[in-house]
Subunit: 206 residues, 2 copies
């Protein structure tokens, strides 16, 4: 039995950096009706960024107030700025029957799980550590030492996989995207409270 | 966390008569690698039927012996003949990594669930009782009274839906087939013991 009461579902796409969660998430938004959650941030808008589309822009004071009110599914501080997923905004969409996807790191996903366990948690894995090393090295932005640290960090993070519902190995992108799409479809066929409405309708008909 | 240890998965497609489970099942076998389970029966082979392909043909004595040995995932007696799903044959395929589908009625599915709870149970529903009535009436083989009895039977059966993992409403066949296919793909992405093998491999690599 499914726990969710909302007709829209929340998909959390997570996994180590370099596994390709960003690309998969982008494809999901482009090719299905699933919508990306808009984050709230305290950093200033960059040229072209639109409030409520790129981010919800706010002040540190307001952000801290929201944290105290339990207003975030998850949040983090990065280089002195706060970033968070506003709970209310996400729930509004779910209530309207809209699927929402969050792309976040593993710590963030674990936080979401405590606040919204009805979410569907998908872990994106690289096909091998050798491949992950290749991908990170390819970016050319990190030292060998930093890469080694990153990989050992990844090994630790991967141990949280048993908190997730699904795991998709991103070896071949098209296949990984197809799998994530299949998960979205399948999750809408889960036996849930919604189906009881249909059965009630049956009873009236007979 | 998934319970299954076999790399192949057992899908049980079930639902009331007239919901279209037979058609969906046929399409699944034709269009994916999922294989249909071959039943064992005590009725004699008809012209063209091949032992081990159409059915496993056997005697009533042997069949009863198998029942006593717990050799069936489910079985039933129909018009004096026995029909059953041989457990060993199904498990052999699952161990080889082959997905197997069973198309059975609701009572049969509930029996399979007690023997093999790791199975993935899919309930096929008609879009409405009016539509189900139309489909059964269309076959022209039953009296009005028999149809009424069938529909009230269906209502009772539908109450077992909470024993199932998925529920697919067969209003538009193509959509229903796509949903069942998505379930097969998604179930192979469930976090299961198999994924820990990959993680062990990661550890060796770092």
């Amino acid at each position: 039995m499914d726990k969710a009461e909302h007709s829209g579902k929340l998909f959390i796409i997570s996994g180590p950096s370099g596994a390709g969660k960003g690309t998969i998430c982008k494809r999901l938004i482009e090719e299905t009706k699933v919508q990306l959650s808009v984050s709230m941030t305290t950093r200033g808008p960059r040229p072209g960024e639109i409030d409520g589309v790129s981010y919800y822009f706010t002040t540190k004071e307001e952000f801290r107030k929201e944290i105290e009110n339990g207003g975030f599914l998850e949040y983090a501080e990065v280089y002195g700025n706060f970033y968070g997923t506003p709970k209310e905004k996400v729930l509004e969409k779910l209530e309207q029957g809209i699927d929402v996807v969050l792309e976040i790191d593993i710590q963030g996903a674990l936080n979401v799980k405590t606040v919204y366990p009805e979410g569907i948690f998908i872990f994106i894995l690289p096909p091998s550590m050798a491949e992950l090393r290749k991908r990170i090295t390819g970016r050319g932005s990190e030292t060998q030492e930093a890469i080694d640290l990153r990989l050992s960090q990844t090994l630790k993070e991967v141990s949280y996989i048993d908190k997730y519902d699904y795991c998709v190995v991103n070896g071949e992108l098209e296949e990984a995207v197809a799998r994530v799409k299949a998960i979205v479809v399948a999750e809408h066929s889960r036996v849930s409270r919604n189906i009881y409405k249909l059965i009630e309708k049956y009873k009236e008909e007979v």
